[in-house]
Every structure is written in structure tokens, then in C-alpha cells.
């Protein structure tokens, strides 16, 4: 009878003004305190990059170029921290923000073809280009590669400047659209997670467990993506052992390893939070009696950072000069992935069956 009443209560799903469900509070906390502010930070950094490019293109010199490069580098950090949100607005067919902002590895031949063309390049025309000709990796290529002096490359009337400024404006627009899609004051995608399964709400997830499962699965996927694509592919573990430096992310700026660190930082914010008291999965796991998982996750995160620090940058050289260090990082990150994908999922009781409404 207890279960029956409980089931009925669950089905009716009270919608209270003050949220009491820890899982929903967790989603709300992560959304409002981590993910949306990170997108806001990304927008701000893109504004900085736009300004830096404006200065560079007005008076091109080494100092202005370095400032623009620093602005690009800084803009990558929040973007990479939120990379784990590879669902919802990030893959929305209309926005296609994830692909348009960060299609990698960059394809120099495609970018050079745009540069060599006569078409006018501005935000409007750039927004019409394909994903491989847009976004941060293309900006990276424009800022970190090319021959000749800075003055020649970034001549105020040149295509490179027009392209870079158009790209920065386009990426900023995408960043704003993405932030607004999540922001409770605009698109409020966050409510799909917070109010998952609530009756009377048209939400993407039919239960809070499914919403939580999506987030935890994304954490695991982010780590697997690092191991398989960002490190493994470059090392050659997926191509028979032959290193593939050209498949590295952010290879022109040598930010590959920092991109990965930012990815892990994003995962860390969800797993253990900024502070011990921050809203995080660990806090919820502790409330379920799994206190040991916080320290295990902390240790696995620390070990992951250490293994990444042990790789001498740039990654494109390390895979040839010190492949053992790269392999060690792949192995160490596996421990973090296993903890998330196996122990955390098991502790949360989030094992899914063949679909979300059938199974025994």
C-alpha cells in the first residue's frame, strides 16, 4: 500500500513553488550556478575577442596579434568547460551551435579557399558558410598560422581580417543564442531537466531519473571522447598505432591539452563542485549514503590532471616524442570514466533498460 500511494504521488507529480527534490535542486543549481554563467562568460569572452580583432585589424602589429590570440585562448576555456552539454540546444537542428562553433580538427584547405575567394566576408556571409568554415577552430587557424608579417596578414582591408571579424561576430551570436536557449529568462531549456516528468509540463525528459541519466552519461562521454578522439586518435590508438598529429584539436595554437583540461574542469564542476558545499553530484551521492564516492572521484580527477600535466606540450609533438605519457593519460582517464559510468550510475540506480518505459 505504501508503494501504491508512493507511486500515485509520483505519477501526479506535485509542482511546488519551492523545490524540495534534491535531484531537481541539483539540476537547478548546476544550471543556474554553473552552466548558464559559463555560457555568459563565453559570451563576454567573445566580446573581448571581437574587440581584440577590431584593434588588430585597425592597427596590426605583434602586440595586437598576441592580444587577439590571448582573447581567443580565453574564450576557449568556458566553451570547453560546457562541452559536456552536448544535448538539447547544442545539437538543436536550428541552432547547430556545437558544430558551428567548434567543428574540429580545422581543415586548412577549406579555410584557405575561403580566404582566397573574392566574396565579401562579414557576419552575414560567414553565417551562410558550412561548419568547417566557421567557429573557433577557423579563428584559431587565422590567428595562429600564415606566412608574412602581421601587418601583411592582417591588413585592414584584407580578407583575413574581414573573415576573422565575421567569424567572431557570428560565433558571438551563436554563443548568445545558446545561452538564451538555456537561460530560465529566455528559452529555459534548463526546465527540461528541473521539471522532468512533471505532469502538465511539456518537457524533453519523462522522468527526473532520465534527465539525471542524460547528464551523467554526458560526463562519461566527455571523458571517453577525450580518451578516444582527443588523445587516442592523435596518438594513433584508433589507427593501428600511427600518430595522427593533424587530427589534434586546437593544434595551431597548441591549446590541445588545455582544451582537455577545460573539459575535465567542466566534468569536475558537476561531479564535486567548486567547493565542498557547492551543488554537485557528490553531495547528492552523499545523501544517498555513498560518501566514499566523493573522495574516489576527487582522487580520479586529481590523477587525471596529473597525467595530463605529465605530457610535455604540445600534444602534436608529445605523441611522437613521448607516446608513453599520452598513453598513461588515456589509461588514467579510464579510471575516471569507469567511476562515472559504472559506480556513479550504479549508485544512483540509473541503469536504463532497452527503452525508458519498458523493462524488467
Amino acid at each position: 500500500m505504501l508503494l501504491f500511494l508512493c507511486g500515485a504521488t509520483a505519477a501526479c507529480g506535485p509542482v511546488s513553488a519551492v523545490e524540495t527534490d534534491t535531484r531537481r535542486l541539483l539540476m537547478e543549481g548546476l544550471g543556474n550556478e554553473v552552466w548558464v554563467p559559463t555560457y555568459v562568460e563565453f559570451e563576454d569572452r567573445m566580446d573581448d575577442l571581437k574587440s581584440a580583432l577590431k584593434t588588430l585589424c585597425k592597427e596590426p602589429d605583434e602586440e595586437a596579434l598576441e592580444a587577439a590570440q590571448a582573447a581567443w585562448w580565453a574564450a576557449r576555456a568556458p566553451w570547453k568547460r560546457n562541452e559536456l552539454l552536448g544535448f538539447g540546444p547544442a545539437v538543436d537542428l536550428e541552432l547547430r551551435a556545437q558544430t558551428n562553433i567548434d567543428f574540429w580538427p580545422a581543415r586548412p584547405s577549406t579555410i584557405d579557399a575561403v580566404l582566397a575567394g573574392d566574396d565579401e566576408l562579414n557576419e552575414a556571409t560567414v553565417s551562410e558558410l558550412g561548419a568547417s568554415s566557421r567557429g573557433l577552430p577557423v579563428l584559431e587557424y587565422l590567428l595562429y598560422s600564415g606566412e608574412g608579417s602581421v601587418e601583411d596578414r592582417f591588413a585592414p582591408d584584407g580578407q583575413r581580417c574581414a573573415y576573422a571579424k565575421g567569424l567572431a561576430a557570428d560565433t558571438k551570436t551563436q554563443a548568445t543564442a545558446l545561452r538564451k536557449a538555456w537561460d530560465p529568462e529566455f528559452g529555459d531549456y534548463l526546465s527540461n531537466l528541473v521539471s522532468a516528468g512533471r505532469s502538465g509540463k511539456d518537457v524533453e525528459f519523462r522522468s527526473i531519473d532520465l534527465a539525471l541519466s542524460e547528464v551523467v552519461s554526458r560526463l562519461a562521454f566527455t571523458i571517453e571522447n577525450i580518451r578516444g578522439d582527443k588523445l587516442g586518435n592523435v596518438l594513433g590508438t584508433r589507427s593501428g598505432g600511427t600518430p595522427q598529429p593533424d587530427s589534434a584539436e586546437s593544434r595551431f595554437s597548441s591549446r590541445s591539452l588545455e582544451d582537455i583540461r577545460d573539459n575535465v574542469r567542466g566534468v569536475e564542476l558537476v561531479l564535486v563542485g567548486k567547493k565542498k558545499t557547492s551543488e554537485s553530484l557528490s553531495v547528492y551521492l552523499e545523501s544517498l549514503g555513498h560518501k566514499e564516492l566523493r573522495s574516489e572521484l576527487r582522487a580520479a580527477l586529481d590523477a587525471s590532471y596529473e597525467s595530463l600535466d605529465a605530457i610535455t606540450p604540445p600534444l602534436t609533438s608529445a605523441v611522437i616524442d613521448d607516446p608513453e605519457a599520452v598513453q598513461a593519460a588515456i589509461d588514467t582517464l579510464r579510471e575516471l570514466q569507469t567511476l562515472i559510468q559504472v559506480d556513479v550510475i550504479n549508485a544512483l540506480g540509473l541503469t536504463l533498460t532497452f527503452n525508458d518505459t519498458d523493462g524488467d
Binding site: L3, A10, T22, S217, G241, N346, G349, G359, D360
Partner: protein, 482 residues
């Protein structure tokens, strides 16, 4: 007493005296066979058919409209197959959708009682085929559905509530059976359903008598904690004693419900408990149509005339004619029918015991787990990745299942050793450049179950590609954690 029973008694030695226990036991099988052959009211069986048909139809429609045909059958580039059934493949679209659409149609025919036996036969073949396509989609209650539908091929379940009966001269809701045209329902038909359901419940109950369930209340404790935020009841659900109470109640329910619902004095309570139990499960856990299949199946334990009794309760006594139709008659013995049923039930008793042939804890190895009514026993999560080695060139590849498998397939494979093995063999074929080339495949696999820390599941040094597929014990499964 039936005629045959009378014949038996006439052979008894004079002077007449009450038979001893031995004599009575000796006659028990014969009496039982006579009981099985005794004609029974067909209403209960027909009601079961209608209920099951509605579930079959709606379940197939749900499968279609929720896009599961694409997700389960069409999208995967690789399918996990059952040993010996590797030849079963999905049809290309739109044929696979038509296949499931046909299931809905045959389910509706079963519910309506139209060409019931043919519809049941077609449903059984099409449904079983669909189930055999993808092992990752295995569900115990789908297996049960296959069996129950197979029964409908052989039992006269369309004598009442049947459009077919009407077409053949009867009346919906009463009794063309009286005319003998639609076949006669016997106690044996009900006994077949009851025995099958009893096997399901008893094995489900026996499987719960393990240390996790009894001494740790797992996985119920983990699952209930997910509801600990509910108003009023939530805090209670976090309490271990509630998890223990629910666990013990669940095991006790499974072990006793076939008996409790059979005994008239306990039947009303058993029905109430069954409703509470199955509806609670349906509300709380993602078990799909499982609860409804079981509730419909349980109606076979009720008196065969139960739909008539319900009708009378609400609408007054049935007419004298209908009462006459409901009268119990006897019919000639049919030993072949009984023999086949016993053979089926014997197989059903043995299959769940096959786990005894495999070493290790069945809940860890899952060898002998399927088709054994081991339900709601595990909260299990895993991760597996593969290392492929081409010894001839020394090339090594790290393979993540997400490159090829769907999320459902990955989740299932990660915790099931036979699927990991099957996928390793597939990878060896995939990487083989020429026939006979040796490809080695090893698995890095970790599994956590029922709240334990993760542990390595598969021996990472074993070349899985060197072990042929079979039903033998898989030697590469590492021992279960304590």
C-alpha cells in the same frame, strides 16, 4: 463421479471399505487426469484472451509510434543474436514497421476473437522472430507473452466475447460453445495457464532468496531511494527497514501468490495484494506492460466463471439458459494434449535451473539468466572497451562500442559476458583483411552491481576472438566481488 471413475471403482475388491492412503495415492494421477478433462466454463479463458489481445495490440502500436522499430531494429548496424539463431535478421524498412504493424493487427484479432487460433499462430511467429533479432532487447515478460500466445493457438479461448463465435452462429458474450462448434474448454486449459504463471512466480520468488535481496535489500534500497524526495512518504523510502520490508514482501508475494489466489478463502486478499503489488511496480519502475501481462495471467487462477459472476454482481443473476450453459460437463480424456502440455511445463521447469551447470554467481555471470524469470534482481552498470591486435603487423586499435552500437546495445553488452564475447568475434571479423588472418581481441570491462564498487568483469588477457561461440561456460569471466 465420471463414467471412467465409476468403471475404476467397479474393479475394487469386495467387501467395500474405504480405500487406504496407498490406494488413494495410486488413483491420484487418474483422478487428476479426469479433473483436467472435465469441462469448464469458457468465460474465464475468453476474458484472458481479450485482455491479453488488448495488451498485445496496444504494445505493438506503442512500439510503432514511439519509434522503437527504428531504434531497436533498423538503426543498429550490428545486432546481438541468440546462439543458433544468427540467421534471424531485421527486414529493411518499411517491412520491419509492417511486421510490427501486423503484430498490432493480430493482437486486435486475438482481442476480438476473430480467427483467434490463426491470429495467435501468426502473432507467435512474428513476435518471436522480432524478439530473436536483437538480444539487447530481451525482456522476460516478452518471453512470457510468446508462451501465452502459443497457448492461445491450442486452447479454445474464443468461445465467449468473440466476433468469430458470432460469425459462426453464436452470440457474443454467451455461448456458441453450447453447440460444440468452437471447442470445449476444460479444467486442463486453465491448468496450463496456471502452471505456467506459477512457474514464473515461483522462480521469480526463488531467485530473490539471495544474500543481496535478503540481507542488503538490494536493489530495492537503491531504487526506493530515488523516491526519497516525495512529499510525506519520501523520507520513509530512504529508511533501510522499508527497503527490507518491500524486499521480503516481494519475495513472499512471488512465492505464495499462485497458492493464495487458488485457495478460495484467501483469494479476495490475494487479488487485492496482486493489484497493489503490480500497480505499484508499474507506477514506480519502468517495467512497461509487465504488470498488466501478469495481472491478466493471474485471472486464470480465478474460478472459470468469474466474468459471469462479475456480470451478475453488477447486472443481476444471469438467465436460466446461461446458467445451464455454464454447467460443468465431462469430456473424453485426451492424453496426447495432456502429454504435450506436461512436456512443455517440464521444459519450463528445467530451463531456469540451467544456471546450475555454469560456475560462478548467476547474477554476476548472467549465464543461465535469461528465460529464467529472474526479474528485478539487479541494478547493474558497466563499461567495456576493446583492444584489437593484428599480430601480423603489430597494429593495435582501441575500439569504443559507441562507434557502432546504439546506447541500448552498449548498456546491455557492458554487463553481459556473452554479448561482450559476441561483439569481440564481430570485431575480429571486421578487422580481418583476409580469410584466416589471426586477429586478437581483448576486453577492458568493469561492472558494478547492487551498490558494490566496480570490479573488472572480463579477464583482460584473454583473446576473446580465439574462443568460438557456444553455450559452454565462458572461461574469461572473472570471479564475482564478495
Amino acid at each position: 463421479m465420471t463414467d471412467s471413475a465409476r468403471d475404476d471403482s467397479s474393479d475394487a475388491p469386495a467387501p467395500r471399505q474405504s480405500p487406504g492412503l496407498g490406494a488413494r495415492l495410486g488413483r491420484a494421477p487418474l483422478a487428476f487426469i479426469q479433473y483436467l478433462n472435465q469441462e469448464a466454463d469458457g468465460c474465464g479463458l475468453s476474458a484472458l484472451r481479450v485482455g491479453l489481445g488488448i495488451i498485445l495490440c496496444t504494445s505493438a502500436l506503442r512500439f510503432l509510434f514511439k519509434g522503437w522499430v527504428e531504434e531497436i531494429y533498423v538503426a543498429p548496424r550490428f545486432h546481438f543474436t541468440y546462439f543458433g539463431f544468427e540467421w534471424v535478421k531485421p527486414w529493411p524498412e518499411p517491412w520491419m514497421s509492417l511486421h510490427v504493424g501486423a503484430l498490432a493487427l493480430f493482437g486486435a484479432c486475438i482481442a476480438l476473437g476473430l480467427f483467434t487460433r490463426w491470429a495467435a499462430a501468426c502473432y507467435f511467429l512474428l513476435f518471436s522472430y522480432a524478439e530473436l533479432i536483437e538480444k539487447a532487447a530481451y525482456l522476460n515478460h516478452y518471453y512470457l507473452v510468446s508462451i501465452l500466445v502459443l497457448f492461445l493457438v491450442f486452447v479454445p479461448a474464443d468461445v465467449h466475447f468473440s466476433l468469430g463465435a458470432r460469425l459462426r452462429g453464436g452470440r457474443i458474450g454467451s455461448g456458441a460453445a453450447e453447440l460444440g462448434r468452437l471447442g470445449r474448454v476444460t479444467n486442463g486449459h486453465y491448468a496450463l495457464f496456471r502452471a505456467q504463471l506459477a512457474i514464473v512466480y515461483l522462480y521469480a520468488g526463488l531467485a530473490k532468496l539471495n544474500s543481496d535481496w535478503l540481507f542488503r535489500a538490494e536493489p530495492i534500497h537503491t531504487w526506493l531511494r530515488a523516491y526519497s524526495e516525495l512529499p510525506l512518504l519520501g523520507p520513509w523510502l530512504n529508511e533501510p527497514f522499508i527497503a527490507f520490508a518491500v524486499s521480503y514482501f516481494g519475495a513472499l508475494f512471488d512465492l505464495t501468490i499462485p497458492f493464495a489466489i487458488s485457495w478460495p478463502r484467501s483469494r479476495p486478499y490475494a487479488i487485492g495484494l496482486a493489484l497493489v503489488f503490480h500497480l505499484s511496480i508499474s507506477f514506480l519502475f519502468p517495467v512497461g506492460v509487465f504488470s498488466y501481462v501478469m495481472l491478466i495471467g493471474l485471472t486464470s487462477f480465478l474460478p472459470p466463471a468469474w466474468p459471469r459472476l462479475v456480470y451478475e454482481y453488477f447486472r443481476g443473476p444471469a438467465s436460466r439458459v446461461e446458467r445451464r450453459r455454464a454447467a460443468v460437463k465431462s469430456r473424453p480424456q485426451n492424453l496426447l494434449w495432456i502429454g504435450l502440455a506436461c512436456f512443455h511445463l517440464g521444459i519450463q521447469v528445467l530451463i531456469p535451473l540451467r544456471f546450475l551447470l555454469y560456475p560462478g554467481h548467476v547474477n554476476w555471470t548472467e549465464q543461465g539468466f535469461r528465460f529464467s524469470w529472474r526479474v528485478m534482481l539487479l541494478e547493474k552498470a558497466g563499461h567495456v572497451e576493446f583492444h584489437v591486435l593484428r599480430p601480423r603487423t603489430g597494429e593495435e586499435f582501441l575500439v569504443f562500442p559507441r562507434d557502432e552500437l546504439t546506447a541500448i546495445q552498449r548498456k546491455q553488452m557492458a554487463v553481459e559476458a556473452d554479448m561482450i564475447h559476441e561483439y569481440a568475434l564481430h570485431l575480429a571479423n571486421l578487422y580481418r583483411r583476409e580469410p584466416g588472418e589471426v586477429i586478437e581481441v581483448r576486453a577492458d570491462s568493469f561492472v558494478a552491481w547492487n551498490g558494490r564498487p566496480s570490479q573488472r568483469f572480463i579477464d583482460p588477457t584473454t583473446d576473446l576472438a580465439a574462443i568460438p561461440r557456444s553455450l559452454h561456460a565462458l572461461p574469461f569471466i572473472l570471479p564475482a566481488p564478495p
